[in-house]
């Protein structure tokens, strides 16, 4: 119990620190907040704002207050009332925008992670069993390819094959299951490769252990050795990698989202940064950091489950 409290305290501190850092960094990058917001909303990217418009806008949103005051009032509202402010650009509450976008991100991240785990772990085991045979080499070359190929290129090639040539799925959009297949596949490629490589290494190490040799000597069939004894012990490093990958997927996949017109949080964050839509940036960062920390917390819990020798507290 004490451990959980400590962990929760640490997480809260991390969230706070990241939000503070984001807030001050956003104000340090050049460009002038009021001017860029105006450019992105009312006057057009290439037009110049007049002095009068800038003053009016700054005073409406208290942009001229000292930074620490602005940040303090944001924290106060967020903590006391759960109000993360209103977007300058969309004129909607940040909570509302997040509620619109987060499900899409979670769906996409979930689907591509499921795909990555299933394919990555299976291929990893297979590759370990086939160590240094032809199929192992081929698989390892393919994964090297998977790690090296940029996501947007893979995405376009996937669309070319599965939408234009085979006519199996639509090019872009959001809402149906078939819309999710291509972005999930494009996004998972990198994770598949990492998971597979870690699984292979870890599996090989485990297979060299004495208890595995004993199990073999006992005459257990291979699949039983793998599933009962080897896999569980080989999973620890794999779980770590899965945790990291899930975290980064939840942060949004800006390029993939743009190509498939997927309404996720990554696009929202990037647009908001270039428009200096501070409340939205803060909200997105807060959501991403929280999800990331939760995933890592889950990973820690899984450790104790997989290896009872690990104890926290």
């Amino acid at each position: 119990m004490k451990y959980f409290l400590k962990k929760a305290g640490f997480m809260a501190f991390t969230v706070f620190a990241v939000c503070a850092l984001t807030f001050f960094l956003m104000n340090v990058i050049p460009g002038g907040t009021a001017e860029l917001i105006l450019k992105h909303t009312l006057i057009g990217l290439e037009e110049s704002a007049t002095e009068e418009q800038l003053i009016q806008f700054s005073s409406r949103y208290n942009l001229d207050d000292p930074l620490y005051l602005q940040f303090f009032s944001w924290v106060k509202e967020a903590v006391l009332r759960g109000d993360m402010g209103t977007s300058y650009v969309y004129k909607k509450p940040v909570i509302y925008l997040l509620a619109l976008r987060l499900p899409a991100t979670v769906q996409l991240a979930g689907a591509s992670m499921a795909l990555a785990i299933v394919v990555g772990v299976s291929l990893g085991i297979y590759s370990a069993l086939q160590e240094n045979r032809i199929s192992d080499h081929i698989l390892r070359i393919i994964t090297l390819f998977g790690v090296s190929m940029p996501g947007f290129w893979v995405a376009l090639i996937l669309i070319l094959i599965f939408s234009l040539k085979l006519k199996l799925v639509p090019v872009s959009g959001y809402g149906n299951l078939e819309n999710m297949l291509l972005p999930a596949a494009a996004l998972s490629l990198h994770s598949i490769a990492s998971i597979m490589r870690v699984t292979r290494t870890s599996m090989l190490e485990t297979l060299g252990q004495e208890y595995i040799r004993f199990a073999k000597a006992k005459g257990l069939p291979v699949w039983k050795i793998i599933s009962r004894h080897a896999l569980k012990n080989a999973m620890l490093p794999v779980i770590t990698v899965i945790g990291f990958q899930t975290g980064s997927l939840l942060g949004g996949a800006v390029v993939i989202e743009k190509i498939f017109a997927w309404p996720g949080i990554g696009g929202l964050l990037v647009d908001s940064i270039s428009a200096r839509d501070l409340p939205v940036v803060q909200g997105c960062v807060l959501a991403i950091v929280t999800m990331y920390l939760l995933v890592h917390f889950l990973v820690d819990m899984l450790y104790t489950h997989l290896d009872p020798r690990i104890r926290y507290g």
Partner: protein, 541 residues
């Protein structure tokens, strides 16, 4: 391993588990989807157009993400020009001269007073009549919400003379008032577009298409035919607008038949896609120019000869053909030659390296050390050039200009930056050249652009250009309401800046319309801000 088959067996099991996992994963996401659809955040106007035939529904692939349908907060152009839900008081012809819109006629009573006569046969989509009351309300809402439009309109008071006559008093003389009322943000809304507390809910206008729904989650906007449009018959029963921000995706979407109409596929792809069966690509000019700002405060660029030499060194036709793939055209002055006020005697600078050489040599810039870059007094002729990547034509164009200037012995270091950083550098004056794409007809009148660009204190006069003759011509012309005389003075300004090149205009911006061949009756509106959907467009399969 003794049993050769066993690894295969394992794979079989794993594959089975995979398919099981995938299947269960899929079904659970499917459940999620349906749940969302129920609790979805769709705003629907209630009108039921389910009965309309599939055949006359058009799916439009819009070039920007559809984030807002609020015409007071950035959604004006989309709702008015692309979704054709709202209309403006004033319209414009292809040569940018004004024509009646929701207002039949207008007249300047004295210096600061305008009278607009409204059409008396216009109804909003909610069935109510459009009278001066609604027009006044809309204009007041816009002035309150949009400081840019407010500062252009310069409206002091709006008066209702009778049901269809509106009197507008401006704070100072403002000959471009009717032109500003052509701007999509000033389109007229029914009061029922707002809720009790005055918050915007959905756009209810007078246009050929009625708002049906906007799904904030999928960001799909649906509009249906307005059977009672004052302008006559409307071509499509229904139009579905989806934002597809990636140009490659737009191209593949129309190739795959998911959209019937889209714009601006990658410029390099226009010819390939136009050659496909069943797809038509049309290239038009839009009121925007690619312009190279020159910082006159920095030593060599203050010299007229250097600027002219640069203009001669740039091959505009080559850029239009090989960078823009003819989505755009070589430019002479800031205005399209089709605009009624443009100075038609100007033609684009053609490339002439010899002339450039003469001018630069006369200015004292000669390559003495043989490194390919000219120098003077031991200082090489090296400049920096900033641009941004939000418009796809800019970075490759900047590369081309860099290479072409190099051939004339001018070294350019290219920096592609974020708009915020560019602003910062421009404010500090820490730049030489800046390539950007400027809108030239937010308002169909030359005053706005010439004032902002070339007047000594103009808000977009970043080069720091100052010519008393130009200033006085513009100031005089601004007070003249007689169009012919007014345009004459503006033409003189154009001729002067053509000679002096404080800003090097490279090319006119283009728009590639990509549509299926069964989409008929589309007419491009050159005065639109990206493109406009016209009521006469229909589908004939």
């Amino acid at each position: 391993m003794k049993n050769k088959n066993s690894p295969l067996f394992i794979i079989l099991i794993i594959l089975l588990t995979c398919s099981f996992l995938l299947a269960s994963g899929c079904s659970s996401t499917e459940e999620n989807d349906t749940k969302e659809a129920v609790s979805g955040t769709e705003i629907t106007s209630g009108s039921d157009a389910k009965g309309s035939s599939e055949a006359s529904t058009l799916v439009l692939g819009e070039m920007w993400e559809i984030d807002s349908i609020n015409t007071l907060a950035g959604g004006g152009t989309l709702i008015c020009e692309k979704a054709a839900i709202t209309e403006t008081l004033v319209g414009a012809n292809d040569d940018f001269s004004l024509k009646p819109g929701l207002a039949n006629s207008w007249e300047q009573l004295d210096e600061n007073t305008w009278e607009f006569k409204l059409r008396d046969d216009v109804s909003f989509h909610d069935g109510s009549k459009m009278t001066v009351k609604e027009v006044k309300l809309t204009l007041e809402k816009i002035i309150e919400a949009n400081p840019k439009v407010a500062s252009m309109l310069k409206i002091d008071t709006i008066e209702e003379v009778d049901e269809y006559t509106l009197k507008i008093k401006t704070k100072e003389i403002n000959p471009i008032l009717p032109g500003i009322l052509h701007y999509p943000d000033t389109a007229i809304l029914s009061p029922s577009s707002f809720d009790g507390s005055g918050e915007f809910v959905k756009p209810i206008g007078t246009g050929p298409y009625k708002f049906e729904s906007f799904d904030e989650r999928t960001r799909i906007l649906t509009v249906v035919r307005n059977e009672n449009w004052w302008g006559g018959k409307v071509g499509l029963a229904k139009m579905v607008l989806k934002g597809i921000p990636d140009p490659n995706t737009r191209a593949m979407s129309i190739e795959n038949g998911e959209v019937d109409f889209t714009v601006d596929v990658p410029y390099s792809e226009t010819d390939r896609i136009g050659a496909l069966d069943g797809i038509i690509v049309e290239k038009y000019k839009t009121p925007r120019v690619y312009k190279l700002d020159v910082n006159l405060k920095h030593d060599p660029l203050g010299d007229l000869r250097v600027r002219q030499a640069m203009s001669y060194a740039i091959d505009r036709h080559d850029i239009a053909e090989h960078v823009l793939y003819n989505v755009g055209e070589a430019a002479a002055g800031p205005f399209l030659p089709t605009m009624v006020w443009a100075n038609k005697s100007l033609s684009p600078y053609t490339r002439d390296l010899e002339k450039a050489n003469e001018l630069l040599t006369a200015a004292g810039w000669v390559d003495t050390d043989g490194d390919g870059i000219r120098d003077k007094g031991g200082k090489p002729l090296k400049l920096n050039m900033m641009t941004y990547s939000a418009r796809p034509g800019l970075p490759p164009m900047a590369e081309a200009i860099t290479a072409q200037l190099k051939e004339a012995g001018i070294g350019v270091e290219l920096e592609i930056m974020e708009v915020g950083s560019i602003n910062d550098r421009r404010k500090k004056g820490d730049w030489n050249l800046y390539l950007a794409a400027y809108n030239i007809a937010m308002v169909p009148d030359p005053e706005y652009i010439l004032t902002n660009w070339y007047m000594t204190d103009g808000s977009d006069n970043q080069p720091g250009y100052s010519n008393p003759k130009v200033d006085s011509l513009i100031t005089e012309a601004r007070k003249i309401t007689d169009l012919k005389e007014r345009y004459k003075k503006f033409s003189d300004v154009e001729a002067i800046v053509y000679e002096e090149q404080p800003m090097i205009i490279i090319a006119y911006y283009g728009c590639a319309i990509v549509k299926k061949d069964y989409v008929k009756g589309y007419v491009f509106d050159p005065t639109a801000h990206d493109y406009r959907i016209n009521a006469g467009m229909y589908i004939e399969k």
